[in-house]
Amino acid sequence: MSAQLELKHINKNFGGLRVINDLSFVAQPGQITSLIGPNGAGKTTLLNLISGIYQPDDGDILFDGVSIVGLEPHEITQRGIARTFQTLRLFLNMSIIENVMSASFSRAQMNLIDIVFRTPRFRREEQRLRNEAEEKLGFFGSRLVGYRFDQPAYSLSYANRRRLEIARAMMTNPKILLLDEPAAGMNPNETLEVTALIGQLRDEAGYTIILIEHDMSVVGGISDHVIVLDHGEKIAEGDFEDVVTDERVVEAYLGRKSS
């Protein structure tokens, strides 16, 4: 099995502060690779590096064996790596369906002529994308469908916003989904549900998933592989059970429990 995503000796500094320190890891296709670690460990920074929002100081990131370092974020997304944000970044004043449809921009088969003259191809393509967006939203049960399609995103509850972000990321047709704390701010029920959903995303939709999560019940339930970060370094890696009993991991968590 060849790696879907491979990070090689990644370093990242912010004005002298070393946030990622010589980090290497591999994510296998069709698996859920979880990144855990205390607050400030550098997990979000890592996602920003993979999705091209930051550039690594050195090291390389390979997607299906090809380096994606130096590409612009939209190019990386078009190649098949989509993400959600820890601090939700929805298009709040757009409707729910538009939020999702907007993420299909680069896949839409239409040019300026089609748009201006409303050619049959334009109509066909709009309809196809809308159907696809409705399908993605249908993944979350009845919460985001029907009358909801045309409501503005700001009218959604926190948990539904998180779901909408996942649907939007799915609309880019990714191979890899990067999920940054998808259960943050959810109640225990919602957390259970989102855990099951991430499992489904792997098993039914076939995504390779890189999951950042604080909630150990989420991580323990579905991870195929767990990587523990502390101070930008990988301090442990392996099965969930192995990792949580690791001495350094326990220390890293207990040492700074307050976060």
Binding site: Q78, R89, S102, F105, M110, V116, S155, N160
Partner: protein
């Protein structure tokens, strides 16, 4: 929680209630508009537009309508750049100028080139897009203030170049034989005697013909931009305006999208420039100065960024209102009607407005009676109200008709309710103005209805007094003050513009 309200928390509900009360005007326009298909709406616009020359043959009125059509076209273009893509482009007018000058070069004896209109106009529109693209290429790496500064400089440089390129040494150009420096632009004297627009032998010589061409172009541009906005391009622009980073992360090439918006805006501006030049039959550098830029931003912001009906409304207000205000009687009418409308918006329940106006009238008459008994012969004729009644221009004849049909007593009350002292009117006006400002400040603090009404009675009286003796006599000042006040008040009550949607920022 019922099924219907899933995911709607308290904040959202409150917000929706707020939105509902604030967007009555928007609902009115859109509610009506949505019942019509797009072609119906544009057809209606065409019909209304064509009605203007039928209704009036007064060249002054047609000139206003033609200016509105042109400014609306420009506004639609600027709206793509500022409203959809969120780019603060202060060089927009330069593209308009480029279009106008390009038309001059391709259709005048100055260059000796006389291309057919049907070739010139598309060519210049494409040229506008290309220049916009080239200017955008380096500058769209800049954000916010920097982009504004660079584009503002571009706009100024354009005017400067057109003014000063009168003695250019072209001897270095190969295959070009010139004797001495060449006059490229004729400077402030402009390029004159341009060809009229001519399509299949039909030559648009008159103002009315040009107006109709502008109207048709406006409608085509509206259709074009509407279609762009309702496609993946429009979705991406809106997404980018909401959250640029998220848009980029969702696969939207934000820099290219900005560039496209910039170029499309520039193309529309250049297109409008050709229409302007062809009608004026001349181009001068002074046609493209900052005043126009301010007006255009007024058009787009007043109507509501990102709203096409808003641009139309904005153009009508920004162009028509200052023209109307040239006429002192109309200005007075607008002033009084405006004050009453403002009161209606301010006072709830609204029936109290009638009571308030009655009180203002009574106070006015009392003051009049008292003043006349204490200082007879010291009251002046009311300058503007008195003159409002005799003659109105044809366009609002019905108002005069209504007033004529009122009983004598009402007319005399209206004429006499304000006591205008003779003497140093400027001083009296200034004192009144100072008191007025204090009163308005007090009134704005009062929450209780009765107290508010009591404060508003003298406020209204003073407002009228200040208008009559201080403002109504000075035409140009009045116009400026008026436009400024209208804009400020609007921005306070509707920061999202008349027909814009209020945007939400919550984390």
């Amino acid at each position: 929680m019922t099924e219907q309200r899933i995911g709607t928390d308290e904040w959202v509900e409150q917000h929706e209630a707020r939105l509902a009360t604030q967007s009555e005007l928007r609902e009115l326009v859109y509610g009506f508009g949505e019942q019509l298909p797009l072609w119906g709406r544009l057809g209606l616009l065409l019909l209304i537009g064509l009605f203007v020359p039928v209704l009036t043959s007064n060249p002054f009125h047609i000139r206003i309508a033609a200016t509105i059509a042109l400014m609306a076209t420009l506004g639609v273009g600027l709206n793509v750049v500022v409203g959809y893509a969120g780019l603060l482009d202060l060089g927009f007018v330069a593209f308009y100028g480029i279009g106008a000058y390009a038309y001059a070069y391709l259709s005048s004896d100055f260059t000796g080139v006389h291309l057919p209109t049907l070739l010139t106009i598309p060519l210049i529109t494409v040229l506008g897009a290309v220049v916009g693209f080239l200017l955008g290429l380096p500058s769209l790496r800049l954000v916010g203030d920097y982009l504004a500064i660079v584009t503002l400089a571009f706009g100024q440089i354009f005017v400067q170049l057109m003014t000063s390129l009168t003695r250019v040494d072209l001897s270095w150009v190969p295959f070009l034989t010139t004797d001495g420096p060449v006059n490229l632009t004729r400077g402030p004297n402009g390029i004159i005697e341009l060809d009229s627009i001519s399509i299949f032998g039909f030559v648009a010589d008159t103002l009315t013909e040009n107006y109709i061409i502008r109207l048709v172009v406006l409608i085509l541009v509206l259709l074009f931009v509407h279609h762009l906005n309702n496609s993946r391009l429009g979705r991406a622009w809106r997404a980018m305006r909401e959250d640029e980073l998220a848009a980029e992360a969702m696969g939207m090439p934000t820099r290219l999208l900005k560039l496209q918006a910039f170029a499309i805006g520039a193309a529309i501006a250049a297109l409008a420039g050709t229409l302007f030049a062809a009608e004026q039959k001349a181009v001068f550098p002074a046609n493209f100065d900052v005043t126009l830029l301010i007006t255009l931003y007024g058009v787009v912001v007043l109507g509501g960024l990102g709203s096409l009906p808003g641009v139309l409304l904005g153009a009508v207000i920004m162009i028509a209102v200052p023209e109307i205000l040239r006429d002192i009687e109309l200005a007075s009418l607008l002033f009084y009607v405006g004050s009453v409308v403002a009161l209606i918006g301010l006072i709830k329940p609204r029936r109290l407005v009638g009571l308030l106006l009655l009180n203002v009238a009574i106070i006015g008459l009392l003051v009049q009676v008292i003043a006349e008994s204490i200082w007879p012969d010291s009251l002046a004729e009311l300058p503007s109200v008195a003159s409002v009644f005799p003659e109105f221009s044809v366009s609002i004849r019905f108002v005069t008709a209504i007033i004529d049909s009122l009983p004598e007593i009402v007319t005399s009350i209206v004429r006499n309710w304000l006591a205008i002292p003779v003497g140093n009117q400027e001083l009296i006006g200034n004192i009144a103005l100072a008191i007025l400002i204090v009163l308005i400040l007090i009134a704005s603090r009062i929450k209780q209805t009765t107290q508010l009404l009591i404060t508003l009675v003298p406020t209204m009286y003073l407002l009228a007094l200040v208008w009559e003796i201080r403002l109504s006599g000075q035409e140009s000042v009045t116009r400026l003050i008026f436009v400024g006040v209208v804009l400020i008040v609007l921005m306070i009550y509707r920061p999202h513009g008349l027909l814009g949607t209020q945007r939400i920022e919550i984390v």
